[in-house]
Symmetry: C2
Subunit: 294 residues, 2 copies
């Protein structure tokens, strides 16, 4: 199976899009005509996601499923998550499960099996590096064997991300910030999975809300693809994320969740037009980003 | 609802046990007579966990469900997880979901709702601190409102935990190790949730495989209860974890997963005797720990 990073780059070029639609189907944000139907919350989430996917698939390269909003459905959560993932694949989107998983080696293997091996599964999963190398390696092994990928949290988009990530650490040889140290580990972990595109299947999550750090990491980690959250509703603009790309317009995909899926809440849309509003938002975002490429 | 830490301390005293049984139902470790039945993997995992729980409940205060081994069941994973959690509650075990969840604030809220709010749910969940305060606060808010708790990863039991956790960080006022910095944050976050027991419902995960750090954290964080993995199969002994307790024998619960649930693979047991072997292993572990209390 082809390297994940190469498939990602090919999809970006084919669709001329760097947009990842964030599927964060918070029940309170769904249009009433879906939540009031008799099938219950799980069915409402499933139908909402399917209609969003169908509407935005032409303008997006990937769908990022936020696991929390499926797990909150309790018993039916994973059935709906995998049903939506299948539907996204059918509509020609790459599927990223934003699960931020992490555990010790033997358990990390089980997570890697759950998300990156076997039939179906995701094209990539997000992982948290707090446990160090042996908690990441099972995901890398699975990614290498199955042509899939992972995005390791490096510098996250939230206001408190600096509590740990911006601290200065002393290593044996030098001094750097925690997120820089993790970024260096990501580059090292991903070395063996660099494909013909020049990018590795071991990527990094770098928030659009920290444009200076994003630019610095892009220039320091030339083979690491970035998954960049924080665009739109979290406040980042197309100018903020322009530096995430190389001179071929590759190297990053930009996620927007609420700004696309709940676009119907802004402007003159009716709730019934939620999919049309999402399609327009995704199309505009694609164009804004492309206009700002260097 | 009573404070989680107080309920935990009361359970320890009532059962005179500090043992947490780790429910890591890896399919390859299940007895063949369960996996070969016609109901499929999900049913095998469910039956295995129920029989283990029934066998060990008298000697354990809590059951720690390792989410990865349920998620690997795909569609049925969460149904089985919650079914096993319900069963553990019925058998008078506190339920900890070892999910190591983490995300930005709005999504952390959804995770907190999935695990710590509403009917059923867990008594506590494990969380990862890489995203800082605003990724933790929704779990603390939910714990405070519902009488439940959380355990924040501080110093994990795996060999690579030092890759990040043991680095020296410079803060404005002093220099300490990452895990010490996170430990201090945990104490600060948990201050408002300290109950009559003297312990907070915001606990820490500290690996038994690092006994020196465990002792140091115990003395430095007198109000933080510890969830201590790494006993038994990972190599730690009752002497290694003796320092995790205060002079009342409170302040920590010690997890063993494989050492209890797969005890039938050691010694002269048949696979059909897996529950009996687990009961004996849990009972022995309880006694070993109690003998080593100071």
């Amino acid at each position: 199976m082809q390297n994940f990073a190469d498939r990602l780059c090919a999809a970006v070029q084919e669709k001329d899009s760097r947009v990842c639609v964030g599927l964060d189907p918070r029940l309170g944000g769904l249009p009433p005509h879906l939540t009031e139907q008799s099938g219950g919350p799980a069915q409402a989430v499933e139908q909402f996601c399917q209609q969003i996917i169908e509407a935005v698939a032409a303008d997006c390269v990937a769908g990022k499923l936020q696991a929390a909003y499926f797990e909150v459905l309790r018993d039916e959560g994973l059935r709906v998550l995998w049903s939506v993932a299948d539907y996204a694949h059918q509509q020609d989107l790459l599927v990223i499960i934003d699960a931020k998983r992490n555990d010790i080696g033997s358990t990390a293997q089980a997570y890697a099996e759950a998300y990156l091996r076997g039939d179906g599964g995701a094209d990539a999963v997000t992982v948290n590096p707090y446990l160090g190398t042996d908690g990441i390696k099972p995901f890398i092994d699975a990614a290498g064997e199955t042509g899939r990928g992972l995005f390791v949290l490096v510098k996250t988009s939230n206001p408190s991300s600096g509590d740990l990530q911006d601290l200065t650490v002393q290593t044996t040889s030098d001094s750097k910030l925690v997120y820089q140290h993790i970024g260096d580990l990501v580059a090292q972990w991903g070395g063996p999975l660099v494909g013909g595109s020049g990018y590795s299947s071991v990527g990094a999550v770098v928030g659009a809300t920290y444009p200076q750090q994003l630019a610095e990491l892009r220039s320091h980690l030339p083979q690491v693809p970035f998954l960049v959250p924080g665009y739109g509703a979290q406040g980042a603009t197309a100018e903020d994320i322009a530096s995430a790309f190389d001179n071929r317009g590759l190297g990053a995909i930009i996620n927007s969740s609420r700004g696309i899926i709940f676009a119907y809440q802004q402007g003159d849309w009716t709730p019934e037009q939620f999919a049309e509003a999402a399609a327009q938002a995704a199309h505009q975002m694609k164009q804004e980003i492309n206009r700002n490429l260097m």
